[in-house]
Symmetry: C2
Subunit: 189 residues, 2 copies
C-alpha cells in the first residue's frame, strides 16, 4: 500500500527507538503502559504495526521468516485497553512543527474511529508531542472532534492545545502519567 507519511513515520520511529531508547513519544508511552501493568493499574497496549504479508519462508520446520510484507494503513488508533473497567483508546503523534499539529498525521480511518469510540462512551484522546518545543499534550477526543467539525484548517494550532488540551509533564516512572489526566475526566470511579 502506498502510504508515504505513514511508512516514513513508522520507520523513523523504529530507528529512533532503537538508537536512543526512551527519547521518542512511543517509547515514553510504552514504558508508561508497562509501569501501569506492573502496578496493576491499567492494561493498555500498543497494537502491532498493521502489515500485509505476501511471502513467508521456512528455513527450518519450526521457524518462519517473513520475506516480503507491506505496511498498511491502520483502521484504528495505535493504543487501547482497559482502565477502571472503561475502554481506553488513543493515538500518539510527534510533530517537529512549532506552531501547529498537521492533521495529515491522523488518517481518515482513525478520525472515524475516534468519533465512533467517543459516541459509544469510550475514553478516547490524542497524545501530541511538539518535539521542538518539548511539550506533550493530551487532547480529548471530544475537543479534537469539535475542532475538525468547526474548522476547515489542515492543522490544529498550538494555541488550541494551550486552551483545550492538558499539558503532560515528563516523569521518571511513569514517564508520561496520562492516566492522572484521565482520572480528572472520568472522576473517582
Amino acid at each position: 500500500m502506498n502510504y508515504p507519511n505513514g511508512i516514513k513515520r513508522k520507520n523513523t520511529i523504529s530507528i529512533l527507538t532503537h538508537k536512543n531508547r526512551g527519547m521518542t513519544l512511543e517509547n515514553d508511552i510504552n514504558e508508561t503502559n508497562e509501569y501501569y501493568r506492573e502496578i496493576d493499574k491499567a492494561y493498555i497496549y500498543k497494537k502491532p504495526t498493521p502489515i500485509k504479508i505476501t511471502k513467508v519462508d521456512y528455513p527450518s520446520r519450526d521457524k518462519a521468516v517473513i520475506k516480503e510484507a507491506f505496511f498498511t494503513v491502520p483502521s484504528t488508533t495505535d493504543y487501547n485497553g482497559i482502565y477502571k473497567g472503561k475502554y481506553i483508546d488513543f493515538e500518539a503523534k510527534e510533530t517537529k512543527n512549532k506552531t501547529s499539529f498537521p492533521l495529515a498525521n491522523i488518517h481518515s480511518h482513525q478520525i472515524e474511529h475516534i468519533k465512533n469510540v467517543y459516541k459509544h462512551n469510550g475514553v478516547v484522546f490524542l497524545i501530541i508531542r511538539f518535539v521542538t518545543l518539548n511539550k506533550t499534550y493530551l487532547l480529548l477526543g471530544k475537543e479534537f472532534i469539535n475542532f475538525i467539525t468547526d474548522n476547515t484548517r489542515k492543522s490544529i494550532p498550538l494555541s488550541f492545545f494551550e486552551e483545550h488540551a492538558y499539558l503532560l509533564k515528563d516523569g521518571y516512572r511513569p514517564r508520561l502519567d496520562y492516566l492522572k489526566i484521565i482520572d480528572k475526566i472520568i472522576g473517582g470511579i
Copy 2:
C-alpha cells in the same frame, strides 16, 4: 522468536483465509465485527499479527517493503474493542480435536491477560470452534479461569464447554452473533 505452534497456526489461518474465504473462524468473526460496525453496534477489531521487523527496503521514495520480519508471541488476545461503553476482549481458536480443547493453543501471556481484564471488570471471553464437530462455543473468561485454577489438565474437555459455555449458532449476517450472548451477561445496559 522461535514459536513453532504460534507461527504454524498463524500461517495456516492466513492461508486458509486466503484459499476459502469465510470458512475459518477468523473470517466469521472479522465479518461479524464488520457487520457490528456497519450497524453502529460495536467497534471490535482483530489486532494485527505481532511481528518484529528486521529489514526494510525502499524501492522508491514513497514505498517501503519489509524484506525480513519474524512472528512474535502475542502479549494479549487477538480481538478487543468497545460495546455499550464496555471494554470487550477475546481470543478465538479453532481445534480439530473432537473431545477437548488443548490449552497449548492459548499462550501463557494471553492467560495472564484474560485474568487481568477479568479482574479489571472488562468483558473477556474465548470463542472456541471444534472444527470437526462444527460447534462453536463462547466461554466466559471467568469460567476459563475457574477451569485452569481447579484443574491441572492440559486440555478443556468438550463436556466442560457443554456445561459452562454458550453454543454460538452460525448465521448469515452476522455470521456469529456473539454479542447476543454478551447482552445476556452485561444485561440490558
